[in-house]
Amino acid sequence: MAKIIMKGNEAVAKAAIIAGCRYFFGYPITPQNEVPEYLSRELFAAGGTFVQAESEVAAINMVYGAGGSGARVMTSSSSPGIALKQEGIGYCVAGEVPCVIVSMMRGGPGLGTIQPSQSDYNQATRGGANGDYHIPVLAPGSVQEAVDDVKEAFEIADCYRTPVIVVADGLIGQMMEPVELENPVKTRDISPKEAWALGYGTREKQNSIENLVIDSPACEAKNIRFFKEKYSEIEENEVKYEEYMMDDAEYAFVAYGTTSRIVKNSVNELREKGYKIGLIKPRTLWPFPQVPFKNKNIKKFVVVEMSMGQMVIDVELAVGDRDKVTFYGRCGGIIPTPEECADYAEKVMGGAK
């Protein structure tokens, strides 16, 4: 199929329909409003159900119900809206309910600003729900990657029976780029709905989605199973990252999403000046890539984010040497320019070519 040009938010919505999502529950918030707007129009046409819920809390609990019934279901929101969904996300984790949550980040904290930001790295990767858990977090840096990630998120969600977060920002949501909607998605083994989903059991073996595990040894066993089976398998199979100009690099930018494309310009600018610098771009934020950070040729890892430096700790843990990690960022809706990132990196490299 030929490429078409779509706005990020609309492309995300279209990708969900292509992936077989037939239920969407959401509540409006800038800068992701085109996701529900598009789906309110197009999901009915695809035979699905769109509900504008009375709140984000209601929306995520509708997701819990639909996902628990074996449907492919999505919700989307932006920073303070995702904050409201946290309790429900935790329930989806505990109930092993597959679902996709799209988070188009804006500046915070609180109501903050509607301009793009990456200040919800911690919200996505650590989460605000209670208990021991992880959620796979995919981080697209273009409209194309957003489409590919949404489709993949449904596969990952169904395969491991877990919520999956696709975390982008207002810029990717608002911008238009050429996109190929029909890229193939890697399919995974998916457990049959008969084994777990509501309404798919038999009279003899009824399915149930459970959250309360009042008996302590059973509750501990459930946690251990999540970590030993589910999360370790995700860590083994689902890590994704990209490298740019890293073959001979002595320095590396580390950036995901929107900042990764900004920093790509900085790399080109610095390469023209003779600096051996490249870019490591995590495509999954949990599980966080480890391999590219074991590169012994790298003198400094320059983390760039549209936040006060939330990914830095994951980079430090992966590198294993805090002195090798440095950070430059803008936040509150300010998007850094390629030039200012290059200027910072040039100082870090001390003019050493």
């Binding site: 040009i5 509607i114 608002q174 238009m176 310009n265 080109n268 998007i335 320019t337 390629p338």
Partner: protein, 185 residues
Amino acid sequence: MGKTHKISCAGFGGQGVMSMGQLLTYAGMIDGKEVSWVPAYGPEMRGGTANCSVIVSDTPVGSPIFETGITTAVVMNLPSFHKFVPKVASGGSIFVNSSIVNEKVDRDDVNVYYIPVNDLANELGNAKLINIIMLGAVIEIDKIVESESILKAFLKVFGDNKAKLIPINREALAKGAEVAKTLKK
């Protein structure tokens, strides 16, 4: 080394600056270029400068936004004129809607084209055509995309049911190009 056009289209809401940018973006893709389109949204749109940033490039688009270094600026009203004229790169082009902007660009390192698009649109009998006339002038001078690609893009941006409007838009593009030719430096 490939060419990268960094284009800002700015004006009042309703002047068609967003769709002007989208037409350039789509036409760029049709011409086989790398493209991106980013709208200003939120508070920066208040005060009369709805605008979008477009990149049409021979190489993949890194950062889709640019604060300065604009190679082509289209300013359809006075607030946009004040906001964008200083941000244009040396050697760049500025297209001014001289029907409603009476000021002159006080820089000698840029090429400025004053196009009275409101008057020209009235001559064509359709005031809505101001953005298309301007687009005709822009691509005549800066050769960003092919004129025919704009018309192909037209149906993609506005839908196939707008095919009946192609002839008048073709005329509008030609009008803008014709006026631009007389101003060519």
